[in-house]
Amino acid sequence: MKQIPHYQQVKPFFLGIPGFVWQVLFFYVPLLCIIGLSFSGATWLSNFAPFMRASYFTVIGRSLMLATLNATLCTLVAYPVAYFLAFRAGRMKMPLLFLVILPFWNNFLVHIYAWTFVLDHQGIVNTLLLKLNLIQTPIHFLNSFPAVVLMMVYFYMPFMILPLYAALERFDRRLIEASLDLGASWWQTMRHVLIPLSMSGIRTGFFLVFIPSFGEFIIPEFMGGNKNMYVGTVVSDFILGTQTVGQGAAFTIMSSCALIIAAGILYLVLSRTKCLVKG
């Protein structure tokens, strides 16, 4: 058997070098810097000391809660949308997909301000409700937790819709036909066939939303009235604010560990594809 020439064997390796270099330079090196910084205090754990109290654990917990809530809500809202796009949209598929992606073309802050105008005391929603005499005084939408959640879901929705759509698009329609043929209702078909088999798409979308949401602090600041602290707020305060970089790094490492553990648990929960079947 003819030996493949040596340069052919190593060619794939060379093609991978640019990507590898990028990854090392802009991810692993900074990561090592942060880890190094976190242990750079007077004693190697002294940067972690200030954070070993309930108030900071609450911050981490709050971010986790927001991320989980956001990802869950996005899943619940995005699934019907992705389903419609994949199965019912027909010729409208491409235009509608375009509309889903369109918000990305706009600056993020523009979106926040736009929502601020909508939800303001003098915004569209309040004006409409007042005119219809459904309320007497304007509702405080802004600077509240619901506003934060609304904005989070609004912003992260495309990250959920697109992978879900991709998974549902290539779903074998015959499996749905087979389920119906065997007497299942539409809802039973969803529960026993479509959802279990699109679980990988659901997982992908879930984590695409969950992970970034954890570090989110701009939206809580703008929409939440800056009342509560989230992980991002703390890190930003320590690194940009008081310039105590070592402690900022330490808190980052702590939160990241919490994130990894939470993500691991959620992944296991979302891996039981058959759970819906035995019932």
């Binding site: 074998d172 015959r174 499996l175 036909e177 087979a178 389920s179 119906l180 043929d181 065997l182 007497g183 299942a184 209702s185 039973q188 026993h192 066939v193 279990p196 088999l197 594809t273 058959k274 079947v277």
Partner: protein, 364 residues
């Protein structure tokens, strides 16, 4: 068991008319084959019966029930899909049990039913296996078991053997016949393979490229008495001779230009052909010829030609004989003897003999 009545069904897709004004009655409890080339609309017709498509016009009846508007899951009809459509996340037991667990049948009844069905299709040993670990033939049986456990009135089979190799296909065809015999369920079997259709069918219908039914009958009727050259060519192979129909002294002949007159019988129900003035077609199947290097007595018709090519089929030998007028005739001879008395070789001049009873005269 109830029959299926299809009345004046039409169906188009994206403006293209697939089926037009088609009416058909599928008798209850029989193995019915729907045969046709790709694109003839036979799968569309099957999907209309199953409820996967709705007709543009017309009605479909199951016995006396109008099922035209009934959704898929409310018809007492089950389907075996061409690619089996087994649920990949469920094992054999769960796939077969699906229709029963959906209905809420108690677990021990399900277990008993599934075990019984799997024994019938010879899959008892695979009961707990994930379906991805099964061979093609085994997957096909699971698809089958999954469909019949429901005891439907009608079982639809959409080219179920398309993905299997030849030997396996033969074996499963026989099993299907036995199962249909035992269950007495109406089977509607769609295929483009005429061998499959002829083997399994009690009754069959041939569809042509225009989405219409050319002929309905038993396999033997369709094979021996096709009503058109399309059917004669699609089911089996045949030789078609063009000529004009003449009657001389009470005997009918087909007059082929430059080749002579050949005796034919016109059965009573085909009397109307005698009134037509246009050209007729004479169909003689390859196995109906007797081929010989020497002249022979006792046959009504003969024609001469030279052997252009020989194809050995094991059971039979096919001779392609070139006639004086240029037409190529296919002849099948069964290889009855180890050492044939007369060996026919390339370029031999031969006589082809046939009886007038073995001819079918066709209008189109």
């Amino acid at each position: 068991m109830r029959n299926i009545k299809i009345e004046h069904i039409s169906k188009s897709f994206s403006g293209e008319l697939i089926i037009e004004d088609l009416s058909l009655t599928i008798p209850a409890g029989k193995f019915f084959a729907l045969l046709g080339p790709s694109g003839s609309g036979k799968t569309t017709l099957l999907r209309l019966i199953g409820g996967f498509e709705t007709p543009d016009t017309g009605r479909i009846f199951l016995g006396n029930d109008d099922i035209t508007d009934k959704p898929i899951n409310q018809r007492k009809i089950n389907t075996v899909f061409q690619n089996y459509a087994l649920f990949p996340h469920l094992n054999v037991y769960e796939n077969v049990a699906y229709s029963q667990s959906i209905k809420g049948v108690p677990a021990d009844t399900i277990r008993e039913k599934v075990t019984r069905i799997l024994k019938v299709v010879h899959l008892s040993a695979q009961i707990d296996k994930p379906v991805s670990q099964l061979s093609g033939g085994q997957q096909q049986r699971v698809a089958f078991a999954r469909a019949i456990i429901n005891e439907p009135d009608v079982l639809l089979l959409d080219e179920p053997l398309a993905a299997l190799d030849f030997k396996l296909r033969e074996k499963i065809l026989i099993e299907l016949i036995e199962l249909q015999d035992k269950l007495k369920t109406t089977f509607v079997y769609v295929t483009h393979d005429q061998f499959e259709a002829l083997t399994v069918a009690d009754q069959m219908a041939i569809m042509n490229y225009d989405g219409q039914i050319e002929q309905i009958g038993t396999p033997k009727e369709i094979y021996e008495f096709p009503i058109s050259t399309f059917v004669a060519n699609f089911v089996g192979t045949t030789n078609i001779f063009k000529g004009s129909l003449r009657t001389v002294n009470g005997q009918h002949y087909i007059d082929i230009a430059d080749m002579g007159l050949f005796q034919v019988d016109i059965p009573a129900q085909k009397d109307y052909l005698l009134t037509k003035k246009h050209e007729m077609f004479m169909s003689v199947r390859p196995e109906k010829f007797f081929i010989s290097k020497k002249p022979v007595e006792g046959f009504a018709n003969h024609i001469r030609g030279s052997v252009e090519s020989i194809v050995y089929h094991g059971r039979s030998t096919q001779y392609n004989v070139r006639l004086k007028n240029g037409q190529l005739v296919q002849v099948f001879e069964q290889n009855e003897e180890h050492f044939p008395q007369e060996v026919i070789d390339y370029d031999n001049e031969v006589y082809l003999y046939w009886q007038k009873e073995n001819v079918v005269v066709l209008e189109r």
